[in-house]
């Protein structure tokens, strides 16, 4: 089929070389602006440069008004999403969890239990822990907050937690001792770290 589509040579000022490569840069960059093209509503200045086939990198993404073309209704729906990474000590990969769809710490524990299916929730006194029934290891949920500190999950009101949580980690009980967790009922394994 492509043989039927004959390429028509267009007269262009720079014959053969594609002269439009739009790169998006932030205002303040020392870019040469093609005369007259001013994107009044976007925060971005466009630069038209000679396109070189050797450059395999596409221009960097930046925020252009109305691009990608997604209806505001959809944007507002997705905005209400807060995905944070969840790791478990000893597991090679991380998962992601959306905090916005959960409404309580109990939900969070349940969701984490779902995600790392070898773990089940166990309640010791008032603590929230997850336990791996295979090896008896206990895990305590901890999180990194906006200031970069590692905190024990459960101290602040839920909404405040959602607001400040950047990532989650299930730490083994022994490692979490320094965070103020009560002494675990099983003997601690390995060395304990204090924060």
């Amino acid at each position: 089929m492509s043989s039927e589509i004959t390429k028509e040579l267009l007269e262009s000022e720079t014959s053969g070389v594609l002269k439009t490569e739009l790169t998006l840069g932030l205002p303040g960059d020392s870019l040469v602006q093609k005369s007259g093209i001013k994107r009044g509503f976007s925060d971005v200045d466009l630069k038209l440069a000679n396109y070189d086939q050797a450059e395999s990198q596409p221009p960097p993404q930046a925020q252009v008004v109305g691009w990608p073309p997604v209806r505001s209704y959809r944007k507002n729906l997705i905005k209400n999403c807060k995905y944070v990474k969840v790791g478990v000590d000893g597991a090679p990969y991380l998962r992601k969890i959306d905090l916005e769809i959960l409404s309580s710490y109990q939900d969070l524990l349940t969701a984490m239990g779902d995600m790392f299916t070898c773990l089940t929730i166990c309640h010791v006194l008032n603590e929230r822990k997850l336990m791996d029934s295979a090896n008896g290891e206990e895990y305590v949920p901890t999180y990194e907050d906006k200031d970069g500190d590692w905190m024990l999950v459960g101290d602040v009101p839920w909404k405040m937690f959602v607001e400040s949580c950047k990532r989650l980690r299930l730490m083994t009980s022994s490692e979490a001792i320094g965070l103020g967790a009560a002494a675990p009922s099983t003997p601690s394994k390995g060395s304990s770290t204090s924060c």
């Binding site: 009044g40 596409p58 925020q63 959809r74």
Partner: protein, 579 residues
């Protein structure tokens, strides 16, 4: 000729009217009314449904004068690019003057369908008060009203059959609008309030569903929890179209088990949507009805990953329409391709709407779909990258596209393998898909692609272009070649005055033209407006309200022109200037 003419006149008007009754498409009716004067007359008195693609193209008074007996009106307001924040909110598109005129004109309005219009509570109250036979209200992408307006509709429209709210921005007034449906209301066939953010009285909803035995379509909002959904389904096993509310629950509970049972009894459900809040663990409840689904919309559910999506979709063997997020990934699309052989329409939306990261969907997914789903005729596809080779293959596999909309995250990304522009790929699409009516192109594109479009896209009615082309030649190819073009919307392209003014008469054959961040100047727009009195040429300029300061050579930021029979509109705000 004479005998044919007298043969036409032989049929009494009642017979003609009866024949015309079978014509439901407005295009057919428009054509029929052009045949001769008597057909025009018969047709205009018998037309019940009127479609107005641009609310500023005609006035309500003239509409009522021509079609005095119409009962159903469809109106569209803002230009399409308003969806992407390119048009200020108060640009226009008010329905109020229309409703006031229709009230004054004594029209027996039964059905109103609006898209991208500004609707006030007052408008809704007028509808509810003055049209005793009002049956159907469909609002798509509208705004300006609150739940108080909905309360008026619910309270007063005694024969309401359809209340369908799609993706509107509605202010919640906590007035329990749903409870305003009186006990005597049993006529509802379709109720969709997915886009509402506030709570509804669950008991009222359940009672409403119980007494409306003809209810076929119900789409609830996020505030309706899963256990309430279960009770509703138990009352309405006859549903054909279901939109779930919050689909989050502990699966190890009795109410979840009850939901599974109720769902199984809903053997008529062919369309499923909702899932604004969903936990993957609850999805198995819908497995029993997957085999009967023809339409599935999971595009509001961001927390569901590819493997969970796939578990659901692999049961949906009768699916004709699928809307998903790009979290499905290329692999997931591969499963769609092998499971959904009846697929006609696919939409893959962005989950990362700010375009900052990557999407999991590339040209591979598209090729897989095209290979596996031969009936595919409509696609909207957001993707990370594309190649000419892929598009050429897609064109070969699926020559039946009516709608083809591709959007690359980076608007000027070249072919991912060859680094060439994507001209050849889109060229293949338009050459192969002879019935293509709607096209959106994306990626690195030169004037060449427009040459192909102008030459091959003979049925094209709507074209969306962004960041493409090299010169006026591109736009000229499209204007000259696409004889059926109705809507052309262009942003950030190097098209200027030469293209704009080359064939001014063309715009009277089209509904509208949008050009923003292009090269057209103020002077050219003025020329066009002067020479074509039946076009409104609007300049939208939010930054500069001082009209006098416009220099002819100055580039116009946003121009929207449309054909009209009623001249410049009187409701244009200060920043819109009709030349």
């Amino acid at each position: 000729m004479h005998s044919f003419q007298s043969m036409l006149n032989y049929f009494p008007e009642e017979v003609l009217e009866h024949v015309f009754d079978f014509l439901t498409s407005h295009r057919d009716r428009n054509a029929v009314s052009l045949v001769c004067k008597s057909w025009y007359a018969v047709e205009r008195f018998s037309r019940e449904k009127v479609f107005v693609g641009n609310c500023y193209a005609i006035s309500p008074e003239r509409l009522i004068a021509r079609f005095p007996r119409f009962r159903s009106l469809t109106l569209k307001g803002k230009p399409h690019f308003a969806d992407f924040n390119l048009v200020p909110n108060d640009w226009g598109g008010y329905v109020q003057p229309w409703i006031e005129s229709i009230v004054r004109g004594g029209v027996n309005l039964e059905e109103l369908r609006l898209k991208r219009m500004l609707v006030s509570d007052e408008s809704l109250e007028l509808l509810a008060t003055f049209f005793p036979n009002f049956k159907s209200l469909v609002l798509v992408s509208c705004e300006g009203f609150t739940t108080d307006g909905l309360a008026a509709i619910a309270s007063n429209c005694r024969f309401l059959r359809e209340l369908d709210l799609q993706e509107n921005e509605v202010e919640d007034r906590r007035g329990q609008w749903l409870s305003c449906f009186p006990d005597s209301c049993t006529s509802l066939v379709s109720l969709n309030f997915t886009c509402l953010k506030g709570e509804v009285n669950l008991a009222s909803l359940e009672r409403l569903v119980a007494r409306c035995r003809n209810l076929r379509s119900l789409r609830v909002n996020n505030a309706v929890p899963l256990d309430a959904l279960q009770r509703i389904l138990a009352q309405a096993p006859q549903l054909v179209d279901l939109g779930t509310g919050s689909f989050v629950h502990d699966p190890d509970t009795e109410s979840y088990n009850k939901l599974e049972t109720s769902m199984q009894k809903c053997t008529s459900i062919t369309s499923l949507s909702g899932f604004l809040d969903v936990s993957a663990r609850c999805l198995p409840a819908v497995y029993p009805i997957c085999g009967q689904l023809t339409s599935l919309n999971l595009s509001y559910a961001p927390g569901i990953y590819s493997d969970e999506l796939v578990k659901l979709i692999c049961y949906c063997n009768r699916l004709e329409r699928l809307l998903v997020l790009d979290t499905i990934g290329d692999k997931g699309l591969g499963v769609v391709a092998s499971s959904c052989k009846e697929l006609q329409e696919l939409r893959v939306f962005l989950s990362d709407v700010y375009g900052i990261g990557n999407t999991a969907v590339t040209e591979e997914g598209l090729v897989a779909i095209s290979a596996g789903c031969p009936k595919l005729n409509s696609i909207l596809y957001f993707c990370q990258q594309m190649t000419n080779e892929a598009l050429i293959m897609v064109a070969k596999n699926c020559p039946n596209f009516i709608r083809f909309r591709l959007c690359t995250l980076n608007p000027t990304v070249p072919d991912a393998i060859t680094m060439q522009p994507l001209d050849e790929g889109f060229g293949a699409i338009v050459k192969s898909c002879k019935d293509l009516k709607r096209l959106s192109i994306s990626g690195l594109l030169t004037d060449q692609v427009f040459l192909y479009i102008g030459r091959y896209a003979k049925q094209l009615e709507m074209l969306s272009i962004a960041f493409a082309g090299d010169s006026d030649k591109g736009m000229l190819c499209v204007l000259n070649g696409c004889k059926k073009l109705k809507k052309l919307e262009i942003r950030d392209c190097p098209f200027g005055n030469v293209a704009l003014l080359a064939d001014m008469g063309k715009y009277e054959t089209m509904r509208s033209l949008w050009m923003s961040s292009c090269e057209v100047t103020f002077g050219a727009c003025k020329t066009l407006a002067r020479k074509m009195p039946r076009l409104n040429v609007e300049i939208i300029n939010e930054n500069d309200q001082i009209e006098a300061s416009f220099d002819d050579k100055q580039k116009v930021e946003k121009m929207y022109l449309y054909r009209t029979l009623v001249g410049p509109r009187k409701d244009a705000p200060g920043f819109v200037w009709t030349l």
